[in-house]
Subunit: 144 residues, 4 copies
């Protein structure tokens, strides 16, 4: 299935390690920043500070993150990063990520996040993913 969203990320010097390749944690940083770029492209933000109904800020803490590393990437590589919407529950959202350099698969992973209301002093409460984001994501969910 084609990606719901694609972007690119450049491997920076600070992203490399003494093995001469990208450090594996960089993929998780890139996945997160691409997720946020994807949410912005849908008209929202991972940190929705002023919801229209004044009910408190919305955040998306991570529940699980996973990545497989297939081929090394090096400094100044331009990686193509595709996002698919693997699953949407009431509160939870699982996005899939695929990193490619040209035709070479570099890494692929997924992250499960939970839509939460952030109440100062009272922590996080899982809430239903709000409209219109819910509808937009629903159209993008992968069909088997």
């Amino acid at each position: 299935m084609p990606a719901a969203f694609t972007t690119t990320r450049c491997v920076e010097f600070a992203d490399t390690d003494m093995a001469g390749i990208i450090h594996f944690t960089t993929f998780f940083r890139m996945m997160e920043s691409a997720e946020h770029e994807f949410l912005r492209s849908l008209g929202t933000s991972v940190v929705e500070k002023h919801p229209e109904d004044g009910s408190g800020a919305i955040g998306w803490p991570r529940r699980e993150a996973q990545c497989e590393f297939h081929s090394p990437a090096v400094f100044e590589d331009e990686l193509e990063l595709g996002i698919t919407v693997e699953r949407m529950g009431r509160s939870s959202l699982t996005l899939g990520y695929e990193f490619r350099r040209g035709h070479t698969l570099i890494a692929n992973g997924r992250m499960k996040t939970v839509c939460c209301r952030v109440t100062p002093g009272a922590g996080l409460t899982a809430v239903e993913i709000p409209e219109p984001l819910r509808g937009r994501l629903g159209e993008l969910v992968e069909r088997e």
Copy 2:
């Protein structure tokens, strides 16, 4: 099963994010640094520069990393980190990680690495995990 190795990690200010909690990539950094501490405790290093047979350096590139986040950790938390040896193949090693703060499970994950010979100019070749490390790890593999 009890952990094969335990250590502690402190949550630093730079490890936190604007949500006020530890950033999820910190767990992966901690898993990697604890893995290296574990290997040192077994008399080797993740970067074995001078193998006794002079056959080139040994490295342990990651093949897969995964983590589930159960409860947030905050600045200055002292986390207990337990490592179990989940599986050892000819070249591959899968370690499990469990982060606790007192009785609270904070996160648990696993990383699969592959023992490789690093030949300058020729890249990485998977090799059998060398003795005596192989024997030491074998004694620590979890039995169902």
Copy 3:
């Protein structure tokens, strides 16, 4: 002058870059985490959440950071890190840092921070460094 506080930091794999040495930003991370360890040793925390007079949280945003890099450090190096109290103003605190591996000077730097009251929604206001920390630091200021 002898350091007011000394600690050690180990160079982790994730701290290195493709040049095979510690990435320069690591020194700034280590300086910050050592500063916090130093403040804890004086009975306070860089994030004082519950001041005794209930007047709001205290924080220490950075005003300036500087570091000179003299000799490279590599993976698994154990660095000795000494802190000196270079200057204390009404609100500001300038600490000096020196990294050594044995007799070798690796890097030295300084950071100027400002003691601020953090009022939710109203941002940061510089305040006088509170007692008893002020007195403790005063005893440690370097005399020419």
Copy 4:
């Protein structure tokens, strides 16, 4: 004096800390990645792997880094980053950096790097900044 090179950087979630603002080390990461982008714009790379005369790789280790933090930046801020060539010696290069968000000065700093030949097994030797880069930088040096 106008900048010799300008670019933009977005503040990512992972760049923030529990104070709700950009972590100060992020500025140093951005300075380094902008320096590399600047060098690429001049037709070279910070890691020149195959110099035309076959004399070994060229690298640019940092000698000093400094930054002053004037105003906080937050998640999703788009920062304008201007680079000036403050000084060029035989081997050394000092670049100045200014971060702005619209008309607001966020931070400004400088980094001094040294052009080095990297000889495997023999470490780093400072060398004259090679042409044609030397000429290009010379045209951009700030005149008082």
